[in-house]
């Protein structure tokens, strides 16, 4: 689509964000379809569990017991889907699409915030990195000081033990 109205950078970032959102929708479809399939497969298992309970103990079936049996059926029915390679791939695609969308969304937000002279996430990340590096340096320095301190103490220790020469 040809660019309209916005500057090049904003145009590019807006387009990337919109494209990333469409990819989220595209990835969400197969994932949702798998969840629906898992539910559909659960239904017969639920019926089997609940009916099995009624047949086994017709007089003592409680509501709580029936719900537990239904949940067990859901787990059994959906388990095969949730453990399949198809689910693994669909979930991965959706998570990756969401992560990509978030990256583009942040970039767009950063650009807009910069126009208003407002610190962005990238700015705070840079600052966080700087503080992190400084803290590492500080830790290394503290250890060096402690090591030197220890060496000095070690050197002074024998001197303390040596009796002063007695004159006169």
């Amino acid at each position: 689509m040809p660019g309209l109205f916005l500057g090049r950078e904003l145009q590019e970032k807006s387009a990337n964000t919109v494209a990333a959102w469409f990819e989220v929708l595209r990835a969400g479809g197969p994932y949702a379809a798998l969840l629906v399939e898992a539910s559909a497969r659960s239904a017969p298992a639920v019926v089997a569990e609940v009916a099995g309970g009624v047949v086994r103990r017709p007089r003592s079936v409680s509501t709580a017991g029936a719900i537990k049996a239904a949940l067990e059926g859901c787990e059994r029915g959906s388990g095969r889907i949730l453990r399949s390679e198809r689910y693994c791939a669909a979930q991965g695609r959706l998570v990756n699409a969401l992560a990509t969308f978030r990256i583009h969304e942040s970039e767009l937000a950063d650009t807009l915030l910069r126009l208003g002279h407002i610190p962005t996430r990238a700015d705070t990340d840079d600052m966080g990195r700087l503080v992190h590096d400084l803290r590492r340096d500080l830790r290394a320095l503290r250890r060096q000081v402690e090591e030197i301190d220890g060496r000095i103490r070690d050197r002074e220790r024998p001197r303390e033990r040596t009796p002063e020469p007695v004159h006169g």
Binding site: K68, S78, A89, Q91, V95, N96, H132
Partner: protein, 357 residues
Amino acid sequence: MAEVASTSATRRRSWPFPLRVLRTLGLLTQIRQEDVDVGTAPKELVYRDGRLTLHRYLPVTAQRVRTPLLIVYSLANRYYMMDLQDDRSLIRGLLREGVDVYLIDWGYPRSQDRWLSFDDYVNGYIADCAEVVRRRSGAPTVNVLGVCMGGLLSLCFAALHSEKVGALVTMGTAVDYHADEPIINRWSHSIDIDRLVSAFGNVPGELINLGFFMRSPFQRNLRKYIDMLDAFETREGALNFLRMERWTYDSPDQAGEAYRQWAKDCCQENRLIRGELRVGDRRVDLGDVTMPVLNIYAEKDDLVPPAASKALQRYVGSRDYRELSYPAGHIGLYVSGKVQRDLPRQIAGWLAEHDTT
């Protein structure tokens, strides 16, 4: 009196379902958040570095093991699982057995902590805490107990600083990430970890919790709310349930760089057992873990399957290696009443046997 309460609880179980739900909701409204107390064993703060705090638990009996024990908990959840309530507390059990217990609380990482890597955790935080404990106690070494992912960090620390560790205990710790691979690890193979960390910085605890939830959405996660009706028959039962619930949903975000290293190097590429995991500028060789090792695992663990833990025996350099297992799940190792009756005694006994101080 207790018998009367128990009788009326049994009678209430025959109430119609809607009545039981209403009673449970009624009791829920009477309990305040502060009633759901966790991590109550008395302790003192001995060191602080950023969000990390190091605590020493106050002794309750004469010290039987001279070398202090430093507990390195997982980054994925909160430490108070080790001291969930009075009668389900590994820490209280260890104190009763005469162990001098220190524990690292990692706190809640914030956005500026996203750069924390394994190097910072192992060569920075754990090394510093071990040094603080060593100086305070006057012992030449410390014993380390690593829990779950904390076990991985402890193994790295023990391999890279073996002279500082007297004995190592790992609990529910994966070593071979591809052995009997759990579903949650398999899911990670199709996720672009670099992109995830770039997008979020720190990986949200909610996202990680969602992964735990999806591994067994109905049996493990929804069924408990039906079991909750039984738990809420007594106030103490309700509090026990709510403590567990509080811990389950109290998941800190994961520092981005550390998560990247764990997910890519360990879960996806299984580098620890190949001797290719790098922490800072050094390679972690499990062959350098030469101190006595006690490896504790849960036989019904679906997050860290026994095979993933037991692999340690094949790679560790120690000649004094022992395994201990319990018929429990990943969490049951810490909260099961049966396990907690024996486990502290077993750990303390093993530590006493290997006490070199």
